[in-house]
Point group: C2
Chain length 192, copies 2
């Protein structure tokens, strides 16, 4: 039973789980946000996934069952919240590409969303995890916008070198697994 051969399981073997780092990025961010919340540092949470409901069955009185629905293209980002009174907002993405982050991973509405946030005095960015390199960067929304618009006529990706130049590398740690607010302090709030 423990080694039922067909079912895919998440093994404790790090060699295996390392090949699927996408979930790890989300888990690392969720763990970090839980740490921020429980230590009263910040309140940042994941938004629900936008779903278009088409049909609902009310067969049982207790729970309406949605029997037909579709994923919608997200018009905002994955995460938002508040830190030291500031509005925080970001999208987290993972790529298996080794040399660049393909812009097809971002929707135009998400880029516009980050632009709205910047315009109204909030802090908006993306966090990109290069899973095969095991490197993670925070890139400000203004740069995301610049590279996104470049993609309309030119290169449709953001290179690793551009992340190194314009972004801020996040190192994974044990307790605060992905302490992105340390970058916010240093770069946006001029603290520390």
């Amino acid at each position: 039973m423990m080694n039922y051969p067909i079912r895919k399981t998440r093994s404790n073997n790090n060699q295996i789980s390392a090949s699927n780092r996408g979930m790890d990025l989300e888990q690392a961010i969720n763990d970090t946000n839980a740490y921020y919340a429980s230590n009263d540092i910040a309140y940042i949470y994941k938004k629900p996934i936008p779903i278009q409901v088409v049909k609902v069955d009310y067969e049982r009185r207790s729970a309406a069952k949605i029997s037909e629905a579709y994923y919608k293209i997200p018009s905002t980002t994955d995460y938002n919240g508040i830190y030291k009174g500031k509005y925080i907002d970001f999208e987290a993405k993972e790529t298996r590409t080794k040399t660049s982050f393909p812009l097809k991973n971002l929707h135009e509405h998400q880029v516009m969303h980050l632009e709205h946030i910047r315009k109204h005095g909030g802090i908006g960015f993306i966090i990109v995890h290069f899973s095969l390199l095991n490197r993670t960067f925070l890139l400000d929304g203004s740069h995301v916008q610049t590279f996104y618009h470049r993609g309309e006529t030119g290169r449709r990706s953001i290179t690793l070198e551009e992340f190194e130049t314009y972004g801020h590398e996040l190192k994974e740690a044990y307790v605060k697994r992905l302490d992105y607010l340390s970058v916010i302090d240093r770069v946006y709030l001029d603290h520390n």
Copy 2:
């Protein structure tokens, strides 16, 4: 065809549509937010409804169809966004009760959510529309919390008089239909 008798239609007749003001509140807020956005005043948007997806069919390549899902109890609020750099967050509710707002309309997690927002320097509140009175109030999250905790041992509603005393009445207007940010300016930001 215009008077097909069975199908419920939204009539242009105000007498009829006034009996279903719930949609009107949401529409009024959405219109107001659209006004704020298009005039670069604020960027405030509705969050997706949280849905637990159980089963997805990948029959067609083009679109994954969700064939079983359920509405989740919301852990956050309906709306959030940013105004003059400040984090804004609120829940909008409508009641047909004439004398009070029943607290069963709010979930405990939503009240905690407003508390987290207050603690980290954001602005959190509820907007309650008494549909049969056609009166609308903004009530700060701190008061919501107080009344919610009172409900654990005492009255399980917030009375109309309490809204009049501790809240701020919002008058519906033509262009900025429900200009709640004028209250934010006056009460929270000490402007105007």
